[in-house]
């Protein structure tokens, strides 16, 4: 972040015709985006594009979701036909939708709005083997970086994360547990809305996968006990502490090797999303994160390159418990909090006008001097 541009933005905010500080969180956001761009005012974050990374998950075989795996491909078709909620919200806020197949099980063909960059037809079942090979994880990561670069090259000045993949909240929970050190029962939610029995089973599946790959934090090893153990019950850590907790993960699986963690329990869309975040940050373009899938990917990106978080805006707070743990761990403050748990990029899109409004203030609002308004 460029300190000079941030100082300029703070000074400008204090001279605009409004009580100082009265834009609250949006004022802070405008200062950070000036720092990201290295100038004040920073460019308006528009046009904006949401990239929906779609992939399937081998862990679906463990019965963690009531939805058939085919729904991933069916929803991709729905996105392309313009029939999903993400399309309605994108139309509302004026964002372009791009779908990227990084690992859908079904064969898909290139189509308008769809990039077929399939690394594999879904991941392996993480309870039995690493979900991805290291090479697959790297390739998916690179695809995300490339897609970000292509969208920025096409003129987009704001990137939004989207995702589709039946069972991807299970992989997200595993990533979040691995990177935050929290126990599976604290970070595993109900996804699309599973019942109590399936939820208990899903927590067990996440625990099994983490144990198999040596990623279960010491404090999380006693099932049902994690909630009261010191590490897990501790206060949330800020962004600066991101690298602290996971480094203590035993069994030779420190997050000093985030790619190994990603490959072990992540999804191909998580890998691509992590790359997308890195690519956007490298281009100094704001990246508005959707919910828990994007948050899990952001943990990977932050572990690979902590500075990338400077470009990230948490679009909304998902109803998934793991998401709140994630944004606290990353030191991000979600802009919208409406109990959404849909994914696709919907929460990021709802936040887009807030991000754009925050920056627009620096471009268009008069100062006390210029408007002839008396200061107090």
């Amino acid at each position: 972040l460029d300190e000079a541009a941030m100082a300029q933005a703070r000074d400008l905010q204090s001279r605009l015709t409004k009580p100082p500080g009265s834009l609250g969180v949006l004022e802070e956001l405008s200062v950070r985006l000036a720092g990201l761009a290295g100038r004040c005012p920073p460019p308006l974050p528009e046009p904006a594009a949401v990239a929906i990374f779609a992939a399937d998950h081998g862990v679906h075989a463990q019965g963690v979701s009531p939805w058939p795996q085919e729904v991933t491909a069916q929803m991709v078709a729905n996105f392309l036909a313009g029939g999903a909620v993400v399309n309605a919200f994108a139309a509302q806020v004026g964002a372009q939708v791009t779908v990227v197949d990084v690992g859908v099980a079904a064969p898909l063909e290139d189509a308008p709005g769809l990039l077929v960059r399939k690394v594999a037809p879904g991941t392996a079942d993480m309870t039995r083997a690493p979900a991805m090979t290291a090479d697959q994880a790297r390739r998916a990561l690179r695809i995300g970086i490339e897609v970000a670069g292509e969208l920025v090259a096409a003129g987009h000045r704001c990137l939004l994360t989207g995702d589709m993949g039946i069972a991807n909240t299970t992989a997200s929970a595993a990533l979040i547990a691995a990177f935050t050190g929290l126990p599976p029962e604290r970070v595993t939610g109900r996804g699309t809305g599973i019942d109590d029995a399936t939820h208990r089973h899903k927590i067990d599946v996440v625990r099994t996968a983490l144990t198999r790959h040596g990623l279960l934090a010491q404090s999380a090893r006693e099932p049902g006990d994690g909630r009261t153990s010191p590490a897990a019950a501790g206060p949330p850590q800020g962004a600066a502490a991101s690298a602290g907790s996971p480094a203590s993960t035993p069994d030779g699986a420190p997050v000093s090797d985030p790619l190994r963690v990603l490959a072990a329990v992540g999804g191909l869309e998580h890998a691509a999303l992590a790359g997308f975040i890195l690519g956007g940050a490298a281009a100094r373009v704001p990246v508005v994160l959707d919910g828990v899938i994007a948050g899990a990917a952001a943990l990977v990106a932050a572990a690979l390159c902590p500075q990338a978080m400077a470009a990230c805006v948490a679009g909304h707070r998902s109803a998934e418990p793991g998401h709140t743990a994630t944004v606290e761990h990353l030191g991000l403050r979600p802009l919208v909090d409406l109990h959404l748990r849909l994914g696709e990029g919907t929460g990021a899109l709802l936040a887009l006008p807030l991000v754009q409004g925050a920056v627009r203030v620096l471009h268009e609002v008069a100062t006390f001097d210029s408007a002839g308004v008396s200061d107090k």
Copy 2:
């Protein structure tokens, strides 16, 4: 609210290609707006218009704000020149801005974007006399109803409240205390950002005005003690209880006469805003409320016509403490919560795309059947 249309909306939401309930608060909102319109889907709430009701306050003479009273008129000029935050946000979300002078102290002339409907050049000082006569309050109320009607007649399908008036958080605190029965120290905030001494003085001014007009609730009569008294410390009441607490106000000032309360301690813009809400509700058009000024006006509108709340959407949660008490009292759930305390309509404008997105889903999203997506 039309129950049949709401049932239709609930049924439609359950068939759309998304997990049931996954749009959280926005799903409930879409159902309510279908009930308001009496059909499903309800009309898209666009185009939208924000009406900024501007007025001055006699209580300014008590030194409750560090800003000179002239700023009200100066900011009106700023709105008309397009230089305020409300203009930037309105441009961002595609809303039209109309300024209505219902009581600015300085003489203003009609101009593009300005309606001069001045009832009086500001209110009287509520610590010494009723702020308005009953006739003034009624005239301002009627102006609000008329402006809502004119905007709807011009084709607007969503109304947003805006306000401008130095010292209007003081009048708002007095209205909120009178209608909720909470003590002044619970509902009086720092407005544009006053210091501790001015804040204590402002609370005293609100208490003095309420006492003079017989509007201080029994539970709030001991300064500094209200916080622990049963009535004030009680849990927030839902919408249905709106008429409960204030009815116990003694000294012949029950809120069964909301117009008397409004005239005693309100502002001309509060009166006009209450009318604007009633006018929007009568036209069955959603009215997105801004912050604490709009909330105080909504208490008046709810006391006059509880059914009008069906049309109201709380745009955001203001940083003012009285606002949280107000939305709880009214049973409203703010959509945006970013510590804004600017007013002008800015918080309502930020919520507009969320309201529009919620309704757009009912218009544009495919069902499982139509999209060929497998249901679980």
